[in-house]
Every structure is written in C-alpha cells, then in structure tokens.
Symmetry: C2
Subunit: 490 residues, 2 copies
C-alpha cells in the first residue's frame, strides 16, 4: 500500500530503529547526573549532537535538540527577536512559511512587534531582491529589522527558495536569517550564511518528538522564559535521549543515500508532473518545475473536493495529503496556495518516500483518473466534456435581487451597462468546489461576451474562480465582496 505523504512524516528509517533499540538500555538516565548511568547518557547525547551538527554544518555547541521542528521554530524566532530587541522589532518572513513560523509571527505582532510578509510568485518562490528590499524597508519608528525567516523549500508545493541569495542580503543588512530546513535537511546542508536553522527528525525518518535548532555563535539570542540548564538553556525539560540518538543516526544514513535517491525520485516526480495533466482533464500542476524538492509534486483538480479525492485515493490504496479548504475545519484554503494565487480546489500533494518503486507511481497514475472522475460524478461536476445544459439554481432576476440586497453588487463594472450580468448564480452557503461547479454549469447559457455573476461566500472562491477562468479561457472581471463577475469567451 503506497504511502505518498513523505512530506508529512516518514516511517522510521531502519538505522533509526536500530539506533533507538541500541540506546534504550543506556539512554534513560539523566545526562546531567554525575553517576555512571548519567555519564553514559551524556556520552550518547554528546555523540548525537556531534553527528547532527556535522550534518547541519555547524559546531556541536551551536546545536540543541528540541521536542519538535515546531518548537525549534517557536524558540528560534522568539529567542532571536528578544536577543535583537535593541536592533528593532520588525520580523520579515515569506508568505509561504510553515504555519509554525506564521504562528510565531502572529505572537510577535500580538506583543507589539511588526511583521512583513514577502509575497511569492505563482510557483511559490520569493524574489530574493524583493526579500532584500523588505529587510531594508521594514524598519519602524522604534528601529529596524530584528530577524528574517525563510524556508529552504516549501512543504506544500516543494518549491525551493533562494536561501543563499537571501542570506547574502541579510548579511549585508546585518539581519540574522533563520532557515526552516524541515523539508530539505535530509537532502543536504542548507547553503549560504544563515544564522539560525530549524529542522524536524520525523521528516527524514527519525522519530517524532525531536527537533534541531542551530544558533550560530555571535547571534544574539535570548530564549523565551522559563528555561532550565538543559540544552544550553534553549530547550527545557528532560528529553527522549534514545529518540535523539536515532534522529542523529538516521540523518547520517539518509544523507549517505541522498544524492542517488534524489535523482531517482526526481525522475518519478517528473513523470507525475508530465502525465497527470494528460490523464486528468482540468488539472493544474503547481510549484516550480525545476527548483524544487526531488520528492514533492502538487496539483489541483477543478470541480473536485480535495477531501473526497483524498478518501477516494485512500480507498484505492494511496495515501496523499491535500491543502484544499475542504479538508480543514477552518474552511480557509492553504495559506501557501492563497499566497501563490493558484487553484485550491481538489488539491493533492504527492510526496514520495525514499525507496518508492516506479511501479507504485505507475499504479498511482493508473488509479488517479478514475478517482477524480468518481468524485466529480458525486458532485455532478463537468467532466472535461462541454457542460450539460443543467438548470441554474435560481432565475437570474431572483438572484440579482439577492445580490443587490447584500449591497455587494456593483463596483467598477456597473459604470458599463454592457457588462451587466446576463445571469446570476447564487452559491452562497455552499462549500468549495460547488460554487465553481455551478459557475461552470451555467457559463454556456450566456452568449459569448456575456457575463455571469457568481455569488459565493466560501473563501476558496477567491482563489478558485480566477483560477477556473484562466484554465477554461474565460475572462475574470473581478470581485466585489462575495460577488464574482466572469465574461464568457469563445
């Protein structure tokens, strides 16, 4: 049963398992104690720190173990901001960082700091020069930029960020750069003059519950209180030492295989990127096609509920994940897809674990078209063929009144009577992908050049209506509140 959610978590690497079992008998004592059990535990901890530091590319005394990548990010960001408080209170991050970074940024804002979110292009990549400009421009009356955060590669779409170039701008500006290396550390060290680095062992086949936080010597750092004497005062509490040993051992092991495995997985992902759009109608493959992680590919399918597709693939034996709003209790699509401005509905992330067989990818490509068809059929969605002449949910006049009552109609278009909506569809109260499906069903009922007004209050519509227009070749005229205007093209 192929597991294609490696970017979420990996099974324990055989070397991790071996190291874990080997250290259970000696790794339970408190390494801070002076007795022989404590000294043995300390030796294991020191050896694990040396191995991990070598893989990260830092000194052992610059590296601490934390309870997770998330905690590494939380502590790293809070500690660097507090340590640099005199330099300023601005934090510069990319808009597509992991939620742990964005949550830490929100906490900084709640505490009176400022946060600048640098946008990304449609591939999910920040522009290094724009990031550098943000460093310089983010100064507030109280001072300048305290810290910058940039992921090495994006966790949802796999796009690599220009970390080395941004690190150069940071060095010029005298601003420390924290790199979230959670998705890339298995594949190699992070290049460039970064100042702090965070990572998570279960992303490379180590156990859960182990994060890495590196803070270069010379970086001002004041860890958030309360602390204790463990891990240089940067990660309080008694850690799971066998898990730490397993994490360090498996990082070395995956690094030894990384280059060969990356080349192999890259070829498999290239096949998925090329073949999915040919096999499934109305699909958009997202993320940078070249500058990307070797094992991640993400695509979105029109007229598809991501959660339903995930379940269909699960029934067919494939485990994937989805950034569609439909999978989340918040009803808000993935912040990454939003920042990229790409289709969110029917979103699927395929991330291949090391060792994935080509036959498993073949099987996935064989199963995917039927899974998508099945979900679209359940939703009575258009399926590549011209949409059936289904009736709109309401008559134009009725929906028009509803729109007017909301006070959300009008806008720039109203000045031009020729742009008045010929047809209105009220999809309010309906969740993605229904609004886009209803739009697709009625577009052929207006003449070429005519417009449809779609009323939709699902947040995903903000991404998915313009994305649908681009994919289907219609003209997106813009939105006013919950009212979206689309002109039919030929």
């Amino acid at each position: 049963m192929p597991y294609f959610d490696a970017a979420s978590s990996l099974p324990l690497h055989p070397v991790a398992r071996q190291a874990l079992l080997a250290s259970l008998d000696e790794g339970w004592a408190d390494p801070a104690r002076l007795h022989r059990e404590g000294r043995r535990a300390r030796l294991l901890l020191d050896a694990a720190r040396e191995a991990a530091a070598e893989a990260v590319g830092c000194r052992p005394d610059e590296l601490v173990f934390t309870p997770s990548g998330t905690r590494s990010l939380h502590t790293g960001i809070a500690g660097a901001l507090a340590g640099r408080r005199r330099a300023g209170r601005a934090l510069v991050v990319s808009a597509v960082e992991h939620s742990a970074v964005l949550h830490a940024a929100e906490a900084h804002e709640a505490g009176g700091g400022t946060v600048v979110r640098v946008p990304v292009d449609r591939t999910g990549r920040v522009d290094a020069a724009a990031f550098g400009a943000a460093l310089r421009e983010s100064g507030s009356p109280e001072g300048g930029t305290a810290l910058a955060c940039l992921q090495s590669a994006n966790h949802e779409v796999g796009t690599e960020q220009p970390v080395e170039e941004v690190a150069g701008f940071c060095a010029e500006a005298g601003v420390p750069l924290l790199v979230d290396a959670a998705q890339s550390l298995a594949w190699g060290p992070v290049p460039g003059r970064w100042s702090l680095l965070a990572a998570s062992a279960h992303k490379w086949g180590g156990p859960g519950g182990v994060g890495l936080l590196a803070v270069r010597k010379g970086v001002r750092f004041a860890p958030p209180a309360p602390v204790d004497e463990r891990e240089s005062g940067r990660s309080p509490g008694f850690a799971d030492l066998p898990a730490i040993v397993a994490a360090a051992a498996s990082l070395r092991a995956v690094r030894a295989e990384a280059d060969a495995e990356a080349a192999r997985l890259r070829a498999l992902v290239d096949r998925v990127r090329a073949e999915v759009p040919a096999l499934v109608p109305d699909v958009e493959v997202v993320g940078d096609p070249v500058r990307r992680l070797p094992h991640v590919v993400t695509f979105s399918c029109l007229y598809v509920d991501g959660e339903a597709l995930l379940h269909a693939l699960d029934r067919a034996g494939f485990s994937v994940s989805s950034g569609s709003s439909c999978t989340s209790s918040t009803l808000i699509p993935s912040h990454v897809l939003r920042a990229m401005g790409v289709l969110s509905e029917g979103n699927v992330r395929v991330s291949l674990p090391p060792g994935t067989a080509e036959a498993d990818v073949d099987a996935f490509l064989a199963v995917l078209p039927e899974a998508v068809r099945e979900v679209r059929a359940q939703l009575r969605a258009p399926s590549g063929a011209p949409p059936a002449p289904a009736a709109a949910d309401r008559e134009a006049g009725e929906a028009g009144r509803a729109g007017a009552a909301d006070g959300e109609d009008g806008g720039p278009e109203t000045a031009d009577p020729g742009r008045e909506a010929a047809l209105t569809v009220d999809s309010r109260g309906k969740r993605c992908p229904i609004p886009v499906i209803e739009l697709a069903k009625v577009i052929d009922r207006v003449p070429v050049g005519g417009t449809v007004l779609l009323l939709a209050d699902d947040e995903a519509a903000r991404l998915d209506v313009p994305a649908w227009c681009e994919m289907r070749g219609h003209e997106y005229l813009g939105a006013q509140g919950h009212a979206y205007r689309v002109r039919r093209s030929a």
Copy 2:
C-alpha cells in the same frame, strides 16, 4: 550495580519497552492526517490518552501530552495565569516546588505578576492553613490570586504535601490548584479537588520526552502563544507517538504493582532512615519520617563534600544524587534544603527503583560508612573523635581586622563585650564543607562559654553553620553578612 536515583529517572519499564516496540510500525504517521496511516496513529493516540486519563483520574479530553513534565508545568502555569488574568495576578507556590515551577514563577514576576512562596517546616512540608491564608492574603491592588501550585510530594526529600487539604482551601477561595504530581503519580492518583495536574513519564519508567498536563473542564486556560491545532491547542508540534503509547502503558503497569511495591520499598527506606545515623557519625536524616514517598530517603553528612561522596559511592557501585551546593555550578545549595533550614553539606538522596533487592540496601549500608570516612579523610575533617588540635588559619587579631575592613562584623553581639570572639577563623574563598570543618577544628581551642567568629562567604554556610551547632550541641549566636558567631558549649 544498584541504581538508587529513581527520583531522577527510571530505566524503561518492560511494559514500556514492549509498547514502544509494538507501536513503532504504526505510530510514525501524523495523527491529524486523514489517510489510513494517519487514522491508525490517531487510534493509538486516542487509546493512550484514555489509559493515561484513567490513571490520572480525569476525562480524556482534559488530558494532553507534552514533551516533558517541565513543559507541562511551564504551560500549565502560564496558561492558567493567562486564563485567570482578570481574577488577579498573584501566584501562590510552596517554597520547595520543583525548579520548573519556580522558573515559571520567576517568569511571571518578570512579566509584572506577583509570587507568594509559602514556607515549609524542617521536614519540608507546607502548613495547609498557612497556604490557605496565603491564598486569601496574596491579593494585589489589581486583584486576587490567579493560581496556586503545590507538589504532591517533594522530589529531594520525599515529604508528602497536604494536597487534599490545600485543594479544599483553594476551592473555598475560588483559586485553581495545579498539582505537580511528578514524583507520586506512579504510586496512585492525586487526591482532592485539584484543577490542573502535571507529570512526567520517565519518573515511572516510561520514556523521556513525554509529559502529562491535565486541565479540568471549567478551568479558565489560555495557553501561551504560539500554539497549533495539536493536543487541544495546548502543546504544539509533532509528538513521539510510540513514546506516548509506552508512557501510558507503563503507567497502568506500575499502578498494578504500586501498593505492594510501595510497602516493600517503605520497609527498606525505614531501615536506611534508622541505620544510617547509627552507622555514620554526624549525619542528619531529613524529610518527614512518615508522610513521605515510599522510595526516597535523604540525609546530610557533616564535614563532607556531597559531590566527593557521590563519586565515592559511584566507585563503590551505587548511583545516588545530591542536593549539596558542591555538586552544582551555581554554588548555591538546593533551594529545598535551604527552605527547610537543614544541613546541606554531604547531602545524599537515595531513591529506590521498583524491584530493589534488600541485599542491595544491605550492601549500600555496608559501603556508606567507609565512603564517608574516605571523603572526610581527604578533607582532613573531624571524624566523630574529638577534633585534632589543628592550627587555625589565621591569628585572631589578623582575621578580626579583615572582618572589620569588610564592615560586616559587629551586630547585636557587640553590645556585650563578654561575647567578643575569642578566636576568629577566616574561611572566606573556601567552598563547603571546608568552613564548617575549620570551625569544628578550632571550637575546642576556646574555653566553654567562649565564642568563635567564622568568616565564610560560601552560601552553604548560612545553612550549615547553624545545622552544625545544633548537631554538635553548640550555641549559634547568629550571622552578620559573612561573619558567623558560635559559642562553645560543654
């Protein structure tokens, strides 16, 4: 090789090991994911939560797993204080809480809150009525008491606290009580109407890296930012699920054996308590003799460097811990011993793991006297026999001038010329237990009724000089700064 530091950390319980191994294959996936690997992980997590909640005595939805007991305390205290901010900003704790509680209290003070530390008696126990009075009196101009913290039993001396009675006072005052149950949870649930509870798996034979935090429904709680969606928003980051499963399974297992094992260990500890003072001269056994943990006994030896004694016992095959200042880089004796006002020098904590054989305790009692003798001999300390007529380090006149230059001499005694020091010993710059050894060496050089002035700047002297006087039957006349005055008795 007997390991007698159970209160610090225990080897993995066989059931923990079994549960850990059994869940490695299914416990690696993200329990928040919808695919089959995620669902299996979620089932494991739910089952572990139910088992742990049953042992704690709370509902599963009141219990979250954290990365350590320390993190449980930090989060529990910060979350309860923030949740009750409108009720007040005062925090009431006992003076002998674990350092994780005291560090959290210091962070609260640094943030503008107030902390009341309720003292303990010479056995290390708080007076419940005094704790109740502190709850009512700790109100500040901005409001009342937000939270109270009390350990179920002390980690250094084993004394049980009157948790049930204090919980009653807390309920009367409408103040939530957080119980640090780290040392006692293996032996049984915490009685009384507590509101929050923290514990740590490696204290009962579970793995490191797993803490428990229970927050009763109805307790106002605002976890410190940043958070994520895991563990009810109370413990961010991807956890080590096999370790959590092992923690829950081993808690059930140790509970099944707890009553019988407690009775057995209690008898062994009673022997240690009775026999150590008979076997070793100048020893003080500390902690409540009855209301105590079954497996912990702590004693302090005059004229002994605790770290040296720990190493001597280690060479003899016994692993113990020490709360002496000498073992710590801070040079400050254990805050617990300080709060109790008992001798800190030569402090040894013996904490027996489940299954400790009587023969191991016999062996310890056979080895201890020689180990103490050895350490005392190295320090040329008095050894029960009348002290040798060693020369004082300085003549009285010289040391007297030094004392006067410091401006620290004088005080209440100077009004009575008969109390003028007949002999002055300057032990400044010398670490414990040297000052007390030097005091013991010269006391017989003054006539009965005469006084010795000891100059000592090691913080431990503040505890150890009065403790020495009480143990040797001399009269402690008090201290002024670093000058201690002692009158020789018959």
